[in-house]
């Protein structure tokens, strides 16, 4: 199983850190191997087609944007990847 690649898109506000923490927790709960990156460059964020932060991509696909989604919401998205 390849490691899942998760990107947290946001310029470093509190909400983005909360989202990152939620993603880490979801990964730990599911015992997955995943790499989490934090993208803070606004141009890189725009290149991913995202306009409202914080957002999250999983394996290159936009999974959420404009809100902090919970651990419970992230887990099924991660399970889809297996």
């Amino acid at each position: 199983m390849d490691a899942i690649k998760i990107e947290i898109l946001g310029t470093g506000c509190k909400k983005c850190r909360q989202l990152e923490a939620n993603a880490e927790e979801a990964i730990a709960n599911l015992n997955l191997t995943a790499e989490v990156f934090h993208i803070t460059d606004p141009i890189e964020i725009a290149k991913r087609g995202v306009m409202s932060t914080p957002a999250m991509t999983i394996n290159g696909k936009v999974a959420s944007r404009g809100q902090v989604i919970s651990v419970e919401q992230i887990q099924p998205l991660l399970q889809l990847q297996n």
Binding site: I43, I45, A46, G49, M51, T53, V62, A63, R65
Partner: protein, 332 residues
Amino acid sequence: MFDPFYPFDWLATQMITKLLGLSISSHLGSSLHFFLYDVPKVLTLLIVISFVVGTFQSFLEAERVRSLLEGKHTLTGNTLAAMVGIVTPFCSCSAVPLFIGFLEAGVPLGVTFSYLMAAPMVNEVAVILLWGLFGLKVTLIYIGFGVGLAIASGYIIGLLKLEKWVEPFVWKLQKSRQAMPIEDAESLEPVALSWGQRFEQGRFQASEIVRSVWLYVVIGIAVGAGIHGYVPTDFITQYAGASNPFAVPIAVILGVPLYANIAGVMPITEALVNKGMSMGTVLAFTMAVTALSFPEMVILKKVLRPQLLFVFIGLMTVGIVSIGYLFNAIIN
């Protein structure tokens, strides 16, 4: 007129007259009244309004706004963009993704600017403070003039055809996006929000805002209270009243570096207004604080050539100063 804040006023008055045995008209009494009335009032407004806004803005995603504005040339587009800017959340951190995202989808440059100008100017913290400290009428005037300015400036930018001063990579992105739409949330099941989750977002938003501004609010009100009780009226009228022709431009210049501290600065202006500072100057000042924010300029510089940034800043500055003068002239 019905005053929704009467209970706060009553409570503050009771505390000072009954508990402390001071007269409201004494220096200390009027200072304390200012403080004890404003702090609970502004904090309550902050909590309630940011919760409501946070809950409902989950309905208004940037993507939806964008599809509303696509291809809308002319004044209609600018007007719509500015109106939408009132109700959408905005933080300068999302200015660039929004700007690129709008242009990519074919929203005209001028319309995009109308949105970018209106959104930060009419933000919830500014509106809450204006409403709590200066009343509903002033707030509505502020929103009206702010939106008018955003419509006019965006329209002018549209007329001038300044697309050439947008960094070329933005247009390259636009071309490649049209050739190959990126894979999007459609492939992953988009996360649907229940009401519980919307309320949760609202609560999160409210706690975030209150936590980041409450201290500024309290300090600002304390300083305002000191001015309110102790600084003589003549002094303020002389320097910040309508008769001083330089009051408006000076207020605008002072407002630019204060972007982060609007919550602390507004209570001080309230005290100054009570002492004779004119309302147009306050409006211009508030607009300068919100709309001409330094970090937003730095961020926008990534996508705008300096020339377009200057046009943007220039239009806003001229507009804000004119609104200040106009308002001072009407009121007197």
